[in-house]
Symmetry: C2
Subunit: 160 residues, 2 copies
């Protein structure tokens, strides 16, 4: 599996079918982007039959962990606008996994909570996500996975 290191190419000449990446591999932003793109696509394939996206799954887990949370709280936690959260909750509600309830203390807001169907199906979602994660980390040891999560968590911690 070991490929010879690519040497500097002369002007105009580059291996057919294989391009040099130039400085890109040295950029954290580039590695982040490519890893995220591959991961996103695998996630979509994992849930192709249900149309579940990483954002929808994240919202479901958040609702489970914070029953009765407001839409705008969920939005802020996921780094989304509250108008974006409307359609996300719409979809989850249309699937019958969550419901909107009028909050008792502040009647402007909706308290979002899982339905019985949502609580029933969430373990299956988590099981599939675990399989997806296993593919993601197939080439990493358990210690490396933990290290990677830790390092990622320290990128722009002030922007979250």
């Amino acid at each position: 599996m070991a490929k010879p290191t690519q040497t500097a190419v002369a002007e105009e000449a580059h291996a057919p079918g294989t391009l040099s990446l130039g400085m890109l591999p040295d950029l954290l932003g580039f590695q982040l982007r490519m890893a995220q793109l591959a991961t996103f696509r695998d996630f979509l394939e994992t849930f192709a039959d249900l149309g579940l996206t990483p954002t929808l799954f994240g919202a479901l887990v958040l609702v489970e962990a914070n029953p009765g949370a407001k839409q705008s709280e969920l939005a802020r936690t996921l780094g989304l606008d509250r108008s974006t959260m409307v359609s996300i909750i719409d979809r989850l509600e249309r699937e019958g996994w969550v419901r909107r309830r009028r909050a008792a203390t502040d009647r402007r807001s909706n308290a979002i909570e899982l339905t019985a169907a949502g609580r029933r199906i969430l373990p299956e979602f988590k099981r599939r996500v675990a399989e997806h994660e296993a593919r993601l980390t197939a080439h990493l040891g358990a210690d490396e996975q933990a290290r990677l999560r830790d390092l990622l968590g320290r990128i722009f911690p002030d922007r979250r």
Copy 2:
């Protein structure tokens, strides 16, 4: 549209303003997504005056490293469809940074290359990207940055 039924109910207790993330921090995909989102937004702000995106910058660097490469080669390397690459090259060409040249050997394809203006401005782009990268890695040591890039490169290496 159909408005959801809303019934008043008592909210369950969770810390005001701060939601629990549940299992999300344990998911590599989630950390990846949040880090990439923050990074993408900082990149856009960095080039707000020029409208340069990570993809456009990546394409420029690729053209620099592989003068005369075909559009479809660039597309494959960046993980994009060749129809998507059309508009990317369109934009770079409209800015005057690259040009399409009829390939001599295969007249179906375009050989993409930097213009003089492109070669002139690329160092400035790289300087700004370096500043962006510095913000990104503000909380990481040099060794940790290298380790992070290495670990990211081992996520789905077979899908790239």
